[in-house]
Symmetry: C2
Subunit: 196 residues, 2 copies
DNA sequence: GTGTGAGGAATGAACGTTCAGTCCGCATCC
DNA sequence: GGATGCGGACTGAACGTTCATTCCTCACAC
């Protein structure tokens, strides 16, 4: 169902419709029942393909979950880091991050749940982890910039990042709607968290 | 290994050493590998009992995970809600909650991880959910009291609660140590989140 | 103190089931 | 007719659970 826009670069070497269907089915089932709780034949059924077909596109169930993870973590990174406004103040960039988180979680709730619940899973490979690390690096750069400019609390950057991301995750898990009112209000709260 | 103090009431009807060993083994394995990722025979091995013995104490694997969940969620509730200081200001009670969270997560890291990762699991029964609801009710009462007294932001209570608990969870997941410095600093940040 | 036996607790091999992954026959193209 | 992509029955392994059997404890007789 919900897919991120195809990568704008190169006529995607491996985007067959079946592959997409498998990735989408896996995403929603993993989000719903977790990786270990989801049998491969069930993924095949929801994707509308035979069980064997999955293994034409993915080496193993583990390779599949890594593909799902990378796809969505990359989309999140694109929105948070790559599309961050150039030449903005730390306060403005913070607003961008917060709103981008909300719009991602609203557009792709299954993807957000999936990323959240599989964040520290043992079956994620180095490449998958690297995408997450890139997001963290972007956040760390923003915090350091804010601290230099005097607009952000001089606590350990990882501490502030953990609290802000954690607070956002808490909001989504609690099922709060992404209404303009809630987005604005939570952004104000979150900013107070990091303001000096 | 790590067990909460036995309930102070009645000479616990069903606290045999084997039962305790099974609960402890299940806790650490579920925290490490999740419910679906943990085979029952592995729990038996770590507990030092036969596989069949588990079924003398628990009806099923699902009944076991519910018992683990209830035990630790109850201990957390005891510390947060039941031991909250009477007649304290909202600010003082907030401090109690924040420090109790830290001390729980430090004393029983496996329990905190387990509770966090199994929070919304489908196999939790009504009784297990009720313990979590009691904690939330206590938090809601605190927020309302703080709002009446003028010391807390007049946002939706569930919104504030979700952000504060979420921020704390983010800190623990990030692996920050519970040093007095970190506890005090994060408490200040978290309070800014809810202060008007 | 020692021997005996009954009864409950504990065991782990074995059961049926379900899983991840394979393989082969068929349909569809050129 | 050959090549390719696909489906789903199939397989061996691993799962949760059971149960025939063993082990341990303790009351009681002597």
């Amino acid at each position: 169902m919900a897919s991120p826009p195809p990568p704008a670069t190169v006529a995607s070497i491996d985007s067959s419709e079946k592959r997409e269907a498998i990735l989408d089915a896996a995403l929603s089932l993993f989000a719903e029942r977790t990786f270990n709780g989801t049998p491969v034949p069930l993924i095949a059924e929801r994707a509308g393909v035979g069980a064997g077909t999955i293994y034409r596109y993915f080496e193993s169930k583990e390779a599949l979950v890594n593909a799902v993870y990378r796809r969505w973590k990359s989309e999140l990174k694109r929105r948070l880091v790559d599309h961050a406004p150039k030449g903005a103040t730390p306060r403005e960039e913070f607003r961008h991050w917060w709103r981008a988180l909300w719009s991602f979680a609203q557009e792709y709730p299954e993807a957000f749940t999936f990323l959240e619940t599989h964040h520290h899973a043992a079956y994620l490979d180095a490449e998958s982890r690297a995408v997450g690390a890139a997001i963290n690096e972007g956040a760390r750069a923003l915090v350091r910039r804010g601290q230099r400019a005097g607009g952000m609390r001089r606590s350990d950057a990882d501490l502030l990042i953990a609290m802000v991301f954690g607070a956002f995750t808490g909001l989504v898990k609690a099922g709060l709607p992404a209404s303009p009112r809630v987005v604005a209000e939570t952004e104000a709260c979150a900013w107070e968290l990091v303001a000096p």
